[in-house]
């Protein structure tokens, strides 16, 4: 396709690939924790450019994948209430809940609208005073500030019919949960856009407490190759540290205005991650000041019983401990058409990819 920026410069990328091949002497496993990075690797075919002993592993960075079944069941329950319009990012439409999905509900007559921005949901609330608009807030620190802005606006404009159903999560507790076990990961590619909000300090515990290097990476092939090179260098000759490859967007101190807004609107809560279970203080829920816009409270969303089939080992796959083929559900119960766990739900999750590669 027509190239439209220099960050996809073929010669430069190959130059970096050659350098990685020269410098990397020992087998190394690098984890990226962001769906965007997983996508970039596959879209640009980067795996073919790296030596076989440099392995890239997909971690739990896709907010869709890790949204628990309980949350999805709550979304379905809300969509069935009369007078409710669900506004959601497209990512969530096909994610399986216990018995249904938003896509299935829509074909049954549920009023479910895909939006590109939460601001469209605010407009829906203004334009439909007789309806309740429930926005499904998923995503990490990149998307949470947008939801926070929307809540603040709803308060300001007295949009009593706008609600947030939050499944927002924060990165650091999940990263801790990953490394707190025996973990065969030698370095981390950190998510560039999450980091543009949070700053790079949140990753410091990885080199300081666990001796693992971290590079905050952009999403272009150039960014990713530079980041892999940086991690390989750290792994080969140390010392492990946090490097910022995405300096053109990420300030080490993050986006103060966005962080302040998060503090103003949200508070940390224990949250359920698909495949990783309950992680303390890893989620974001609205503070009580904003409870009139909290869908969970206003509609009294019941606590759902999670019915994830037994045998799902997504947690171990997400941590890089097991491979998809080792999961008893892989291919017979859990397929891209009927995904069970996080790793199969996203088209670019470890299991979805393994399924493709072993299909023939």
């Amino acid at each position: 396709m027509f190239q439209h920026n220099n960050l996809r410069n073929r010669t430069a990328i190959r130059q970096l690939a050659a350098e990685i091949r020269t410098i990397s002497r020992k087998p190394v496993r690098l984890m990226e924790v962001c769906g965007g990075h997983t996508m970039a690797i596959h879209r640009f075919g980067l795996t073919a450019l790296l030596p076989e002993w440099v392995e890239l592993v997909s971690g739990p960075g896709c907010p869709v994948c890790v949204s628990g079944q309980r949350y999805l069941d709550g979304c379905i329950w809300l969509s069935r209430l009369p007078g409710v319009i669900i506004a959601t990012y497209g990512d969530l439409i096909r994610v399986p809940a216990s018995f249904s999905s938003l896509e299935k509900e829509r074909s049954r007559g549920g009023d479910i609208r895909i939006v590109y921005s939460v601001t469209e949901a605010l407009s829906l609330a203004r334009e439909n005073p007789g309806k309740s608009i429930v926005f499904l807030g998923i995503g990490f620190e990149t998307t949470a500030p947008a939801s926070a802005f929307a809540i603040r606006e709803a308060m300001r404009q007295n949009l009593a019919n706008f609600f947030l159903f939050s499944a927002h999560k924060v990165m650091p507790p999940a990263l801790r949960a990953l490394v707190d076990e025996e973990l065969r990961i030698d370095g981390f590619i950190a998510p560039g856009h999450v980091s543009s909000i949070t700053g790079t300090g949140i990753y410091r515990f990885l080199p300081e407490e666990y001796g693992k290097g971290v590079v905050v990476s952009g999403f272009e092939p150039m960014d990713m190759m530079l980041s892999v090179l940086g991690l390989v260098k750290m792994f080969e000759s140390g010392p492990p540290a946090v490097e910022n490859q995405y300096k053109r967007v990420v300030k080490n101190e993050g986006n103060r205005k966005a962080l302040d807004l998060l503090d103003e609107v949200f508070e940390p809560s224990d949250d359920l991650w698909r495949g990783l279970g309950m992680i303390p203080l890893s989620g974001l829920q609205l503070q009580s000041t904003f409870q009139q816009h909290d869908a969970r409270i206003h509609f009294k969303v019941p606590e759902m019983e999670s019915t994830e089939p037994k045998g799902c080992i997504c947690g171990e796959i997400l941590k890089g401990l097991k491979r998809p083929a080792e999961c008893p559900l892989f291919r017979n119960v859990c397929t891209p058409d009927n995904p069970v766990g996080a790793c199969m739900v996203s088209g670019e999750g470890s299991c979805a990819i393994a399924y493709k590669y072993t299909r023939h």
Partner: protein, 322 residues
């Protein structure tokens, strides 16, 4: 209803066969193979940049005939109207269909209309069926019976225009882009190609699921593979940018005026030149080739020299944030 048929449909689709107003059209067809196809059209919104559901319904069926190697002759059209649909909208659609059919020199010889209660339809659904004359020499084309390694794969122009144009029109995203549907009757272009290169191995129009789906379907269970060259795949920069923004892949986005062709390797540059001379083929490109390697798989060489396995997508693409 009679008024609608008389004043709208008969007026715009005027031709001797239809004017007889019999229960069935009586057609004289030469003693040769007939190609026959049918398709239903339910696109939302019904009007979009570059076209409308009517033009789509006519072109869609004409294209199904054309890519089989057939010369389209007759169409039937059936409407399911939702109660309350504006007559002015319907007239606009019918006029568009008549214009498209007239330009294509095909007649609408049979039709039907039903009205369903409000809420049981979506303004208008259209089903078209088409009959075409299929010369014997072109009959292997539809199945691609003669495809072999060394053959070249071409497409007549930029990918993803229709799907993105419709998506941006339908959804509330408020992205404004100068993107038009490529909805068009491909028969004139295909006729030129077949005249100059009767040994065309295979043709299919790349509609829902995009070019990627056509190619995956083509090589399923076949003893050959496909090698695609990303650099050679034509995409409008506005479409590429919209896809980037929404997290979609132009390879899988719907088209309504694009044909994927497989031709003998040594005929490729000649066919390309032919297409470039035609208004529907100015951005045509040789995008890949049939190979003995990796049978059953489509492998794309990326712009960077990496490689990517192009497989089926599960379900429709959706805009995403992740």
């Amino acid at each position: 209803m009679n008024g609608l048929i008389r004043d709208l449909f008969f007026r715009y689709f005027d031709n001797p066969v239809l004017a007889r107003a019999a229960d069935a059209a009586s057609l004289e067809l030469p003693d040769t193979r007939i190609a026959f196809t049918t398709d239903a059209f339910v696109v939302d919104p019904i009007f979009f940049p570059g076209g409308d559901i009517g033009k789509l319904a006519v072109c869609g069926t004409l294209n199904d005939l054309a890519v089989a190697g057939a010369t389209p002759q007759y169409l039937s059209v059936s409407f399911i109207l939702e109660e309350g649909m504006l007559i002015s909208d319907l007239e606009r659609i019918v006029r568009s269909m008549a214009d498209t059919a007239n330009e294509a020199e095909v007649s609408v010889v049979a039709g039907d209309t039903k009205v369903v209660p409000k809420g049981k339809g979506d303004k208008v659904f259209i089903t078209t069926s088409g009959i075409g004359i299929l010369p014997e020499e072109y009959s292997p084309i539809g199945e691609g019976r003669n495809i072999r390694p060394g053959d070249a794969i071409l497409v007549n122009g930029t990918l993803g225009d229709h799907g993105i144009a419709v998506l941006l029109q339908r959804e509330s995203f408020r992205l404004h882009a100068p993107i038009q549907s490529d909805c068009a009757n491909l028969y004139p272009l295909i006729r030129e190609v077949l005249k100059g290169c009767p040994e065309v191995r295979f043709m299919r129009d790349a509609t829902r699921g995009g070019m990627a789906t056509v190619l995956c379907e083509l090589i399923e269970h076949r003893p050959f593979g496909i090698e695609l060259n990303e650099e050679r795949i034509p995409v409008n920069s506005a479409v590429a940018d919209a896809c980037e923004l929404l997290g979609m892949d132009p390879l899988y986005v719907a088209n309504e005026g694009k044909v994927v062709l497989v031709v003998p390797g040594d005929a490729a540059s000649q066919v390309l030149e032919m297409m470039h001379r035609h208004p529907l083929g100015t951005t045509a490109s040789i995008v890949g080739r049939i190979t003995e390697e990796h049978p059953g798989k489509v492998i794309m060489k990326t712009d960077l020299g990496g490689s990517r396995w192009i497989d089926y997508l599960t379900g429709d693409q959706l805009p995403r944030i992740c």
